[in-house]
């Protein structure tokens, strides 16, 4: 597995994520998805885990395809009910586009996670981003999975209080969801307070200038990856404009 500098990975991720957002052509979008999957494989990203995360979103293809088919008059009708088009070729395309865009974004995230948070902070600092902001970004990234875990735990604990969800009305279900917010928000604020306190005790921002033992250096493969990112960004932008 090739070890890349976090900065080159970041440049590649920004390039493919931007392409994933603005490209409209389905074939070009598919090509960008394949490229991001290849890059994730090359950098050692956990593709299987990324795809597993997308599992729940796959069902959204159908929902988006149906909604787009009903409200968007483009494309050939594939299936209709009482003269309402439930599935059109354009609707189906939008559904597939959605899942490809999400795949690109999630796979990009797996590329980022191949660097440790320390490497990522250092990468951002060497890209001239202030250390405080770089640290904030890295902390935010680390907080997200903790938040998901917190919500899952609270939901388990809530059900264990003897709340059987399948037997209750929608109104009560909505009320239960509001009960989930309190422990999650309170827990997150407490964790943030603890982190802030431990940062203070370790002298965060005590001195104006920070030195670092870790200094990142670009290797040949990093230059190739950056060049490759620029080439695909420009080529796909050109092709996208041409196909409009």
């Amino acid at each position: 597995m090739k070890k890349f500098d976090p900065r080159s990975k970041l440049i590649f991720v920004i390039a493919v994520s931007s392409l994933g957002v603005f490209i409209k052509d389905l074939y070009l979008l598919s090509a960008v998805t394949i490229l991001s999957l290849a890059a994730a494989q090359m950098t050692g990203g956990n593709i299987i885990r990324g795809i597993r995360k997308l599992k729940t979103l796959y069902a959204m293809i159908i929902v988006i395809a149906v909604l787009q088919s009903i409200f968007n008059n483009e494309g050939r009708v594939l299936f209709e009910l009482f003269e309402i088009p439930l599935m059109t070729t354009a609707g189906l395309e939008r559904g597939i586009e959605f899942i490809l865009r999400m795949t690109i974004i999630i796979i990009s995230a797996t590329i980022i996670t191949t660097s440790t948070s320390r490497e990522m902070i250092q990468g951002l600092v060497q890209l001239k981003i202030p250390y405080e902001i770089a640290f904030l970004v890295s902390l935010g990234i680390r907080f997200l999975p903790m938040l998901t875990e917190e919500i899952k735990d609270s939901f388990t604990a809530l059900k264990l209080r003897g709340v059987v969800l399948k037997n209750i009305s929608l109104k009560k279900k909505i009320r239960i969801i509001t009960y989930l917010f309190l422990p999650v928000i309170a827990g997150t604020i407490k964790k943030a307070e603890k982190i802030a306190l431990s940062m203070e005790t370790k002298g965060f921002r005590a001195k104006k200038h920070r030195t670092s033992y870790l200094i990142l250096k670009y290797s040949k493969s990093d230059y190739y990856l950056i060049a490759f990112s620029m080439i695909i960004l420009l080529t796909f932008t050109y092709l996208n404009n041409k196909l409009k």
Binding site: A157, L158, K159, R175, L180, L182
Partner: protein, 224 residues
């Protein structure tokens, strides 16, 4: 299986993903006529076993029955109505903006009459000596108070079995005594109790049976 057995574990094994830790071939019966203690060294799997017994964690193999029903057929909410579980960290099971609401809301959701909710909630708050805190915001309370609020939240459900994970850690001597007496009272009313604890004095005073977890995942009955 005797007539008082409420939770039965048969040849149960469990392992966490990407971890060396495992519980192997555990079999045990927990009875409603016992106050049982589960002891063992740090990392021996006491909390893990408690979480398996309440359906939070799923075993890799084996069978677990709660009240003669296979745990696999029960939803977590249904388990919660039969077995009350007190987490090591009480903050995990506090949900509402006031102590009273936190203790009473599951009853309200489950359609218990307002009079019964008031009676049950007020009596449990009084019994745990937290009735003066009923309008307080639970997250601002001390650890010991939060623990008693969480305990009230599970006791109000009048479950047939209780699993308490380290219930005495944040309690002073008087409150430990109070908890012990309350558990004895519940026990005399037919509630089975499993206490996961390191508190030897408390265990010796209130528990009739001691289960010891061994480092390699086995379990032994130390005192009956």
């Amino acid at each position: 299986m005797n007539s008082q057995t409420y939770i039965e574990v048969k040849n149960m094994s469990f392992c966490y993903p990407r971890s060396q830790f495992r519980l192997e071939d555990i079999s045990l019966q927990l009875n409603r006529n016992d106050i049982t203690a589960l002891v063992g060294e740090n990392g021996s799997g006491k909390t893990t076993l408690g979480k398996i017994l309440t359906g939070i964690l799923k075993p890799a193999s084996g069978e677990i029955q709660i009240g003669k029903k296979d745990i696999k057929t029960l939803d977590l909410g249904e388990i919660g109505k039969k077995v009350g579980y007190l987490f090591q960290n009480p903050e995990k099971q506090i949900f509402a903006a006031s102590v009273y609401e936190d203790v009473s809301f599951p009853l309200e959701i489950n359609g218990v009459s307002p009079e019964a909710i008031k009676d049950r909630t007020e009596s449990i708050l009084k019994e745990l000596e937290i009735d003066h805190l009923k309008d307080k915001y639970p997250f601002n309370l001390s650890h010991g108070e939060k623990q008693r609020v969480a305990l009230a939240g599970i006791l109000v459900n009048e479950t047939e079995y209780l699993i308490l994970d380290e219930p005495t850690t944040a309690l002073d001597t008087d409150r430990k005594e109070l908890l012990g007496r309350m558990l004895q009272k519940l026990h005399s009313q037919g509630t089975g109790i499993l206490i996961i604890s390191h508190d030897e004095i408390f265990i010796n005073k209130f528990c009739g049976r001691v289960l010891k977890m061994k480092q390699k995942g086995g379990i032994t009955d130390e005192k009956v």
